[in-house]
């Protein structure tokens, strides 16, 4: 499917969802909900009009296939995994794991330097955040405690 059709599809879906939400607010018939909903409907209609213009105008999509797409998908998966495990494992362990995974799997470094870097990086930053009183997830291994 051409990229422009995907772009237009996303824009039309967003417009419809936004307008529907605005209408549901207006229908509540409560003080100020109408005003609030009207603004949302206005934005939805504006997006719909602009998406319509984008469809009609001869503006080609500039998305080009690039060889690094697979790596980006892997990086996103790694980030999602990091966000997923952080509440359970805490900052220190999850950062250690994600750094080592990134360096070995995605950057192609050997295990020993990656391990050394991951230990130094995760321990030093965990200590640094604690020193700055920046709150990071603690998980089951709350070190260093803030």
């Amino acid at each position: 499917m051409p990229i422009k059709k995907i772009e237009l599809g996303i824009l039309f879906i967003i417009s419809v969802v936004v307008i529907a939400d605005g209408i549901s607010l207006v229908n509540l018939d409560r003080m100020r909900a109408g005003e609030s909903g009207t603004y949302v409907i206005f934005l939805g209609i504006l997006l719909l009009i602009l998406a319509g213009l984008y469809m009609l105008k001869d503006i080609p999509s500039e998305w080009e296939k690039q060889p690094g797409g697979r790596q980006v998908a892997e990086a996103i998966c790694l980030l999602a995994a990091y966000a997923f495990v952080m509440p359970y494992l805490g900052y220190l362990i999850s950062t250690f794991l994600v750094t080592i995974a990134y360096m070995v799997h995605m950057s192609g470094y050997r295990w020993v330097p990656s391990l050394a870097f991951a230990i130094v990086f995760s321990v030093s930053t965990a200590w640094f955040w604690a020193w700055l009183v920046v709150l990071v997830p603690q998980g089951f291994f709350p070190w260093p405690e803030v």
Partner: protein, 493 residues
Amino acid sequence: MEPFLLGILGAMTPENLVYALSGCLLGTLVGVLPGIGPVSCIAILFPFTTYLPPTGMIIALASIYFGAMYGGSTTAILMNVPGEISAVVTAMDGHKMTKKGRPGPALAMAAIVSFMAGIAGATFVAISGPTVARLALHFGPAEYLALALFSLTATASLSGRSLIRGGIVTVIGLILVTVGYDSSSDFGRLTFGSETLIEGFSIAPVMIGLFGIGEMLRIYEQKIGSSEKVKIGKLMPNRQELRDGLAAGGRATLWGIPLGILPGMLPSVTSFLAYSFEKQRSKTPEKFGKGAIEGVASAEAANNAAAMSNLLPLMTLGIPTGPSMALILGALMVYGLMPGPMLFTLHADFTWTVIGSFFVANIILLILNLPLVGLWARIATIPHGILAPIVLVLCLVGSFSLRTSFFDLWVCVIFGLIGWAVSRANWPLAPLCLAYVLGPIIEESARQVGHLGYGLLLERPIFWFFIFLCGVSIWLTRRMWAKTQAELANSEH
């Protein structure tokens, strides 16, 4: 004069000097990393500044911004990797000078004219700030509505080749900021019954995702960077180069300052305009694009002068003129600070100290950049494999730390993906950022105007003036965009 001198003294306190120095160091450090420009730099670092007191926070943020602007030119000159579009013009001649074996004079000239333009820009802010603030005291909701709309239309039309795309991205930004609890109606909007979405999307994870993670993914995909070590050699330009460069930098500063206060007139556009002006008036235009020091000087001076005068509308009106300013405003809003005309009256001590810190930061940057240029050049060659996990961890920790919310971690990751996809499809991100910050101002002003009666608008000439400027900006900037693109294409050939 007295408040200004007191401001300088305030900025020179050991505490504020440490904030300015740390901001300059961090900004330059992140700014020299290939592909990371000032906007990404502020996005990545701003959550950490919220732990500082208000004065320290804005000093650190402004210093990070100036540092990133300085740092961006280093990678542009040495590696031909501009951190953002404004450094593209610097790279055109600066990297040619590196190839000719003269990176030192190009870097030194960039630092000297950036300092010169920065000081001139800060002086302009100090002189005109109180006057603009006094004028702004007469602004009501109608004027703020029109001014915010002007800022949005100008940015949307200037930030990409297609005005329609700019408009779409702007509206999406306005929609995103409406997600969550609406205090005036006491209802959730676009939350679809989710209790998590009631809190809305905090500005920090959205911006860190769009500009920090999105940019890192783009760098990773395109393998931007270089392990090529460049020998800096002799740093100072010769007398002729110094004379030509300073003259070009002076002219470009005069361009950059007034252009920088216009909404949407991003430092990148100012650089293009100053460069093309310098090329047109030169007796040897054929030298441009082949390593002319005037090219480096004009681009860097205009860029830095505009970066400084960008702060005037932000500080006096509370209206950002571009994405960097929008991020600074967003950071201030996280802290509960709202810049505007009252800054110069109710919080004069704070304001003058901040203005004083602009001067101090420029001096610090000159001191840092000239002797430490070799160190920055070495940092710029850090392999992406080591750099990426560091930046990604910074992004996620920054997103989490402000509200200690795991939801924000996911928001950051998802907006990172969106940011990468949007810039990959060559859609502009700047209007989204601006719309996200200006959205609440627009909605609130529109509501107030509605309550006062729309007939009021007929009695507000400033409102109509800004609405007229919206139309003019769209028409004019389309013409300018086409012209600068043509200039750039000519220079590249």
